[in-house]
Structure formats: C-alpha cells, structure tokens
C-alpha cells in the first residue's frame, strides 16, 4: 500500500509555537518535519518495503519525491522544503489523485498522510469554500474525493483539538473524511505543541498504520515466525447482514496443498509478502531513536540466515513442485501461499487472500470439504499423477456447455431447421442425428408454445419424402413420414403426443429380410 505524504507548505506553517521551557523558537513546520522524520525513520527500519512519495502544497502543488523506498531522499526533500503562500487543499488533493493514478492505476489501495496546521485557507480555494460548493459542479470540476482508488486519509494536524474546534476547521476536516467514505482518521496533538506531543501523535499513526503484521505460519508441527507485508486490511462482507470487519488471524495454518494448474489463477483480494523473521524479544516494541548498532544487527542477521527456516523450505518445495499451499486465515476465510519470482529471478514466498466465505473458488468447492487424499478410496490424482479431482463440475451445465435452443434471431431457427433437413436427406445413415435434432427442435417448440413451427417442419419433411430420389434407401421414406406424423400429433397439444420429456423415436423397420416391415 503506497503512501503519499501531502505536506502543507503554506506560510501559516511558519507560525512560531510558543514554548515556555524552550528558548529556541520553533515553527509549526519544524514540528511537522520532526513528526515526518520520525515516520520516515520508522519506515526505513520496520516497514521498508512501503513506497512513499512526498507532495508539498500551498496554492499550487508539487511532487517533491516520486514513489520510492529510499527514505534518505524523502528526508532530504523534507529538510529542504521551502515556504510558499496560502493553503489550497482541493488542488493538492487533485494532485495526489493524479500522482497515485499515474503510478498505480485505480485498484491499488493507497494511504494519504496530510500534514497541516489546520488553517485551511480563506476565500476561494479554501477548504471551506470547496466544501460549500460541492453540489452542482460540472463533471470535469468535481471535488477530488472520493479518490477513484481505495484510499485512507490520515490528517495529521499540527494543532490541538481545542484550537481546531474554535473555528469550523475540525468540522471541515471531518467532512473531508466523510467524502472519502469515512476511510481514515484525524490526528491532533495533545497538550502543548512541542516535539514531544508531535512525536506522540505520529507514534499513534505508526502504531495504527505502519506497524508490521507479525504472524506465525504453521504446517502441522513445522512453524515459522513471519511478517506479512503489507498489513492485511480488514474486510467487509455484506454490509447488511455482516457489518463487522473481518481481520486475518495471526496464526496462519496450512490446510494442505494444491497444484498450480488446479487452483488455476484464482481471483484474489490482495497479495502479501510472507517474510520469515526472528522474533527478538529485546528489540521489540522500542520507540524511535533507539537505533541498534548496525554491526550487531548484521551479525544477528547472518546468524538468522544460517538457521533452517520453515518458510525457506516451504518456498523451495512449492517452487520446485509447482504447487500452492492452502492456508486458513480465519473462520471461513482462506488464502494461498506460493513462490513468486520477479523479473530479476529473485523469488519470494507470497500469500494471496481469497474473498472470505466458505467457497471462494467454485472450482474447488467448499474448502471445509477438502480433505486429505488418504481419505479417498483410491488416490484421486492417480498412481502416476495423471488425474486430478479438480476442477469440480457444476451440477447444472451452463447454457454454452449444453446444446441450448435459442430462436431469438431468425438465423437460429433457420439453422436448426436446415440441420434437420440436411440429415433428412442422408437417411438412413444419419438416423440418429436426424432424430436428435428433430427432438431438440420439438422440445423447444413445445416449450415456446410454437406449434405452428411443428406443423411447418412436418410439411417440410413430407415434401422431402416426395423429393426422395429413386435410389434412396426405402427406410428414408418411412422415417420421414413417421417423423412428420409425430410432429403433427405433437402440434395438436394432445398430452399424449406433446409431452416435453418424450422423444420421437426412430421407426422400427426391418429391411434385413428384404421386406418392408413395421408398417
């Protein structure tokens, strides 16, 4: 989930903060920079795969750093940030929208961290003005929220809540959040504006949004501590029946294995890297500033690299065998683990989440009904792996898989009639096909109440009978007149002849003895 940091660079950010204890004069901007520095440092250490970009705005906006994992660059740009004129949030949000769409398209969930002092401009271009004029805008001047991509908006106010509530700023920001579908949060500073309070505010953001997701991956008694990146988002199923969000478990239990060909490019909600980690009790849960000695860290990493890890084993075998592991994420919620290689031949253990539910993939059936092959009487994969129990077949075939009759277009009807006539001319060789096509037409005509057609086709068959060449097999004439007669009977609607499930059967003739039997 990429992050866009949207930094307010308007003049009001340079307002000094009154500090009693501190002699040095601090601007709100300094506090904002300090907070972001903390965020970037945290990401560099604990969330380094996150792509982050930095956009500064005043009345204009500028992309200072495009999406990157290089947090030094971000930090540098932050420290070189200049001061500009007034705040105009609407155009800045448009900017964010563009930046994200250009890089990630419209499906990628994104996090927008807006850092502002809460003075959102006056007059035209101010947030208040934007919100007042929401309605009745032409299509091309729409307010940028909601974004065309799923986005969470985190508003970091370099101000405390009381300050914002004195004006309508808080109200406006809440409205902004609502426009975004309520996805996000407003953070304010507690107590005095100082370095400590800004750090505690960003600390809360980090805890909620940028803390790694630790989990344990299990396969029976084999297990590994892992980090799942990016953090899996809570999922809503049916807003009406099941309005509570679903979270994935931190205990990821493998249910069993399936061939890649059998799972067959399933649709997934999101993808996550599963990175094995060493759970280090000492270093955990320590705030910022406590950067470990790099030397020590690398030696610890080297050590960890040499300890056999289940993830590596699993990854290697999944890759070699071309399989995926089905993993349970929660009650009636599953995902799959597989080896994912990137262009540079680096490969990794990846986890994709299926949509929650007992049957995420129709071709696998209910996941709870998937059992070990040892339960089956004989190996469903065959002794030589030549078979597979997948995909499951639906109980009822789809229309395109069963020879349905549709006569909406005249051509459909004409084709069906011509098929019958063509086979009629090749009797008795084509007796089976002739009756098959005839019965198909009969069934449809009966269902559609199209008795006129039955009569018409009966007449056509009678005509064919008269047109039979002298060389024709004697059986042909019998079959044709028999079929015509049956169609005519059906066209009366007489239940004896017009039953849907009844078929016209070939007339039983016996020419083997040379005589004309069956008359």
């Amino acid at each position: 989930m990429p992050t866009v940091v949207l930094m307010d660079a308007s003049l009001s950010m340079t307002r000094p903060v009154s500090l009693e204890q501190c002699s040095e004069e601090l601007q709100r901007k300094n506090l904002a920079v300090a907070g972001l520095t903390m965020l970037f440092e945290h990401m560099a250490n604990n969330y380094r795969l996150e792509f982050t970009s930095l956009v500064a705005f005043s009345s204009l906006w500028e992309l200072l750093v495009p999406f990157t994992r290089d947090y030094n660059t971000l930090q540098e740009a932050l420290s070189n940030l200049e001061d500009y004129d007034k705040t105009c949030l609407e155009s800045a949000l448009h900017g964010v929208s563009n930046v994200v769409q250009q890089e990630w398209g419209h499906a990628c969930p994104t996090q927008v961290v807006l850092v502002t002092d809460g003075s959102l401009g006056i007059g035209k271009g101010s947030l208040r003005h934007s919100l007042q004029t929401l309605k009745g805008r032409p299509e091309d001047k729409k307010f940028p929220l909601p974004f065309p991509f799923p986005a969470k908006l985190f508003i970091m106010c370099i101000a405390n809540a009381e300050e914002l509530q004195m004006t309508d700023t808080m109200h406006n920001l809440e409205q902004l959040l609502q426009l975004n579908g309520g996805d996000g949060q407003i953070f304010t500073m507690e107590g005095q504006l100082c370095l400590k309070s800004v750090q505690s505010m960003f600390g809360r953001l980090i805890d909620e949004v940028y803390s790694p997701f630790p989990a344990v991956l299990r396969c029976g008694n084999l297990a590994s501590d892992v980090q799942v990146f990016p953090r899996p988002e809570p999922v809503f199923l049916d807003e009406e029946i099941d309005p509570m969000p679903r979270h994935i478990l931190t205990d990821l239990e493998i249910v069993g294995f399936i061939e890649i060909g059998d799972i067959s490019s399933p649709p997934v909600m999101s993808r996550h890297l599963v990175l094995p980690i060493v759970v280090n009790k000492e270093v955990d849960d320590v705030g910022p500033g406590t950067t470990e000695e790099p030397e020590e860290e690398t030696s610890a990493n080297q050590q960890a690299g040499k300890v056999p890890n289940f993830c590596v084993l699993l990854h290697g075998s999944l890759k070699v065998e071309g399989m995926v592991a089905l993993v349970q994420l929660g009650p009636e919620w599953y995902g799959m683990l597989y080896s994912q290689a990137d262009s540079k031949k680096k490969s990794n253990l990846m986890m994709s989440l299926f949509e929650p539910g007992p049957e995420p993939l129709p071709w696998l059936g209910k996941v709870s009904q998937l059992g070990p092959i040892s339960d089956a009487a004989e190996n469903p994969y065959g002794e030589d792996d030549s078979k597979s129990p997948f995909p499951l077949q639906p109980k009822i075939k789809r229309s395109y898989a069963q020879n349905v009759t549709v006569w909406i277009k005249a051509s459909g009807l004409q084709t069906d009639v011509q098929k019958i006539l063509r086979n009629a001319r090749k009797l008795p060789e084509k007796t089976q096909t002739f009756y098959k096509e005839l019965n198909r037409l009969r069934k449809a005509a009966l269902a559609f109440g199209f008795w006129e057609l039955l009569k018409g086709v009966a007449e056509l068959l009678e005509r064919e009978c008269t047109l039979l060449p002298d060389t024709a097999h004697p059986d042909a004439a019998f079959q044709l007149s028999h079929a015509a007669k049956q169609l005519k009977l059906a066209s009366t609607g007489d239940s004896q002849y017009a039953a849907f499930d009844q078929n016209i059967n070939p007339m039983h003739t016996d020419f083997s003895g040379g005589g004309a039997a069956g008359m």
Binding site: E240, I260, G305, N403
Partner: protein, 746 residues
Amino acid sequence: MIVIGKCYYFICWLLLTSGPVGVLEEIWSPEKNSHRAEPEMKMFSVSHKTAFVVDHCPYMAESSRQQVECDVLTKSRGQGMIPLAPVSKSLWTCAVECSMEYCRILYDVYPLKKLINYIVSDSEFHILNSWRQEDQSTHELMSALAAVGPPNPQEDPECCSVLHGLVAAVESLCKITEYQHEARTTLMDTADRVANRGRIICLTNAKSDTHVRMLEDCVQETILEQNKMAAGSDRLMSIQQCELVLVHIFPQGEDTLVSDRPKKEVSSLLTSEVHSVRAGRHLATKLNILVQQHFDLASTTITNIPMKEEQHANTSANYDVELLHHRDAHLEFFKSGDLHMAGSTSRDSGLKETVTLKWCTPRTNSVGGSELHYCTGAYRISPTDVNSRPSSCLTNFLLNGRSVLLEQPRKSGSKVISHMLSSHGGEIFLHVLNSTRSTLEDPPSISEGCGGRVTDYRITDFGEFMRENRLTPVPESPDTEASGKPPAERAKAQLERYTRYWPMIISQTTIFNMQAVVPLANLIVKESLSEEDLLTCQKTVYNLVDMERKNDPLPISTVGSRGKGPKRDEQYRIMWNELETLVKTHVAGSERHQRVLDCIIACRSKPPEEEERKKRGRKREDKEDKAEKSINKDSEDKSWQESERLKGALERGKEEQGESEVIKDSPDSPEPLNKKPRLDEIQLPEKAKGPVSLLTMWTNRITVANSRKHQEFAGRISSVNNKAELYQHLKDENGMDLHENGKATR
C-alpha cells in the same frame, strides 16, 4: 487459432450470418452508465428474487406478425419448388423465448443465489417452479412451459387476466428462500437484518395506461395485504421493497396503446416502470438490456478471433464474440475513463455499449495453465448469442481447457494484457488481470532472509510430503458429519501427524536419507495401521538389522564430524535412535504403532553393545532428566494432553531413553565435547513435537549465540549450520556427498 471442428454446415451458416440489421429505438437508460463506486454488497438485494409473470390470456395467442422464413432453398434444389409459407411467432412465444433468454443469461452468470419464480396467468395462476435452488434451471422451466402450452384463443377473455399472476407473484415474494432461511437461522438475534426485497417482471399485453395503473394499484394493495399476513408467520417475510417492471408487448405494425414510463415510486414499498415494446427482436433486445441492468452486467466483445473453416483450411477469418458478465470486470476502465476509448460498437445489436478486447493467440505451451496470474477478479460469462457459430467455437475452445489472454487496445499503441478467459470445470470465467505496477516489486529475495543461507533443505522430500498432503474434495454426506471432523480439519490433523518428526535439513537426519527406511517412514504417520502395515514396518526393521549385521555403510552426515566420522557401530546407534524418535512420536496413535516401537527396541538390543550402552545410558539419563524438566517449563502453554501423551511415550521408551537424545549429539563422536555449539543446534525436533516449539528453540539459539561474544573460530565462521567440514578431500574418497539436496542413498 481456433479450428472449427466439424464445420459441415458452414455454407448455410455463412449464408445466414448476413441477416438483416435492425435499427433500434431503444436507448440505454441512464442507470446503465452510472456505475457505482462500490460493488453490490447486499446479498438480499432486489435481485435476490425475481418473479416472472407472463400473460397467458387468449389475446397472447395473437401473431406477433414477425415472420420467419424457415424454408431456405438452395439454388440447386430450389427450382420449381414452392417454398413453405413463413411461420410467425405468437405474442406468447415471443414473451416466453425472451424471458427464457433472460433466465439463461442470469443462470450462466449467477448459478446460485439469484432466484427466479416463473408464473403464468390466465383464468388462474400457474406457478411453474419454486424459489428452491434445484428448481432454478432453464430446462426445468422449459419443461413446465411445455406442459402449459400456448394460450387457448377460444377461452373466455372475460375470466382471464394477468392480475391472477401478479397477486401470485406478490405472495411468492413473501415466501422465504432457502438462503434467507439459512441467513436468519445463522444470525439468530439479528435475524431482522435479513431483508426481503424482490422484483416482478410482468410480460403482458395491456389495454391502456389506465389498465397499467390498475395493475400497479393491485400490486400495491396485495403487498400491503400480504405484509400483514407475513407479520404473523414464520415461513413468510414481509416485503420491504418491490420493483415492478411491466413490459407491454404488442404486435409489429400496430401502434402502442401504452406509453413508456421510467421508474417511479408508487409507494415506499413499490416502484414501477413501464416498457412498451414490439414483439420479436425488439422485445429480445429489451429483455437483454433489462437483465444487464437488473444484475449489474456489462458487455465485452472479443475481437480478432481467428477461425478456420474446415472447407477453407488455409485461410482464416477473424470473428467477434460478445459476452456478458458482471460489470466489475470493467471496473478499471470505468475508473480510468478508458471505457469509450476501449471502444464501443453498434453492430447488429444496436446502440449497445460494449468494451472491446483483443484476442491474443495463446502460446501452445500454455495449455495446462500452470502459470499463476495475478488476478483481481473472475466473473462468469454468458455469450450474448449463445448458439451462433463464432460464439460456440470460442466457448468450445475454452471448455477444452485452453486459456486466452485478452489485450486492451490503447490509443498509445502499447500492449496491455488486461483480462483472461479461462474455463474451470465447464464454466467460463473472465479473469481480470492486474496490469498496473505492483507495490510488491523488488522485494528482498528469500535467500537473503532468515534461513536463506542454509543450503541443504530437504526440498525434494518436502515436495513429496506436499504431494501426499494434497487436498481432494470429499462429497458432503451425513456419514462424514457423523465421523466428527470436517475434511479440512482432517487434512490439518494429517499434517500434524506427518510433521511430528520432520528434520528440515539433510544433515540433520540419517533415516530420511535411507531408502531402506522409506516403507516404515511412510506408514508410521498413518492414523491407523493395518496388520499388513505393521508387518511391513517390522520387515523394514529386520532389514535394518540385516544391514547392520552385514555392516553396510549408512549415509551419516560427515558435516562437522571429527576425524573420519563416527564408526560404523556408532552410525547404527545414531540411526536406531533417530528411528526410535520418529516412531515414538506416533506410539499414542494405536496399539500397532506401539508394536512397531517394541519391534525396534527388541531388535536393536545386541548383547555386546548392551553394556557399553548402559554405561553411557546412565550418564545420559541424568542429563536427559534435566533437559526434560527445562523442556516442560518451556511448554507450559502447550496442551496438557499432549505433554501427557508424550510423557507416556517417553516412559514406555524409558529403557532406551538415554539414547534417543543422542540424535542431537550426533553425528559426532560419542563423548560430549564442545557442548555449547551442540546445544544450540536445532536437533530436538523429536521432543520438540510435544513440549518444545521451534520458536522456543530458535529463540534459545539466538540467545545463546548472542551471549557468546568472543573471537570466533575460523572454522566456525566458514561453517554451514555451525558445522565446519574438515578433511573435505576425504569426501570424494567416501564417494558420498551429503551436501547435495538429494538423498545419497536414493
């Protein structure tokens, strides 16, 4: 390239494809274009229940006056023959076939949870099916329709009315579906969250606008009436929302007596809309539009499908096929505004909005579909023109197991694969592929992370393990429920059994590197052993005894060993210990499992070794006790039963206990030297099974590692798994290389 299989009929097909192109007056209603940002998230929306009410009164027997020439005479035969008079469909036939087409598309795209109740109305109502899922199929409906037959023109028009059907439809909407029932049962206290909404599609021939109003009023009144009744019933649900869609059908060449009217609110419960349509093709188009609107469908036209005619095998022509599917398959286009750019055609289906995607001829090797695409959605499709030749060629091609990638035409000319068509078990899905940059690009390789430097993982063995633990669908039956655990839980239980003792790297194990042990190792993990299995296990043990007697070499890892490695008898001691460890983790399984262990214990005890072992055993036993204590401390969170069971197992094997621990000592010289590096090796999995988790061991290991901050030995720095290989040149002489990721003995 698709080769049209038995294309015997190609001539007439080609003749017929150039059918008349109609001009349509229908225009997409505005709702079609207002795509919601969010997909439908309510299961019990209006589209959960659809009641079709088709007028079966005498006037519906009237001809639609759209004539179909079904006697197409070919040039060679046509001379001098009077062709058959064209046939024409009645209003009834038109209504039925178009409603069936609506159902066909619906069932293709939503085989489950979108239900249709088909009602026919004349002097009374006839309900042709129920809301039950097994009643939902076109075959079912066709069969019932055949029984009804066309309207009887002789029937007294005075006592016939579509009203009977409308009343029945409202009553039917109050009936609870199995899905609603299930949801209510599961939700219990919050059962009122389960909504009851529905739609009535009425195909009729109305007299006038007043007549239409009368029908609306009747539906409104019936809803109120039925809701009162439903309030006092468990099996009925009151209707919260009902959409009435009235389709007035009139013959071609006549003027309509009823005017079109967009959706309006009759009451808070009922909305109503009126469509006045000519019978025939127009009606078909109307219902096609309606099914798309009602079920959030969208259209995609696959272009440039190369098809060969059998008669002209060396030429191929390109065809287009239109498919319907859930509109979310186009989400990316809607959002990016690429929709119109992607192309919309207005061919013979009129003013129709469709997204064009280009066929990409599949590579021949991608038949198996062994590639895992990053796919963000998969939607069932239904061909618009299901039995046209291009459609059936495409669908048959896909049903045969081939997948086709689809390309999104872009202005820039760049090639973007955005979708894939693929069938799974007789159903065709349109997969949406991710075509934007991935946020997960360039991750650290797994070889750079934890455990990434270890090179002798038992990859092949774990692959074998995965094959044995593949899943298979188990048919739902009362029997499986009686046996307790659902299949998936049994699969997990099997994984648990199979991994009780499973060393991850080759140099940690001897027995799994020995072909001779395979039969026993495969059987012992089973839930229960047959008498025959037991015999095989015992044979395996005898075979090992035999090997020992003959002094056959064992594939003991020489990594980290001193000198020439352990002596032969020591090798066997290590092997037996490991085997015992494996079997011990399973003894609680059954009496036969225990007998396998007994067999091992009985067979391995040899008099000359006995004494030595006892001597050593005593020493070790002390150590063992200590180890056990600390282990138990670590595992307090483990379940009581498990540790009890394991203790029992340990108890039974008490005599040999001292030795089983050797595994972690091995494959070294017998005497304890250099204890420190040994202890932190993950050599405990056999006991780890019960009391110690890998995590604990690992953590211990790291702690130990960190506590030893001293100058490292040169050998250890260059070691693998803390084992430095000495005398590497001797390896070649031994003729065995155990660093490979394979089994030396296999």
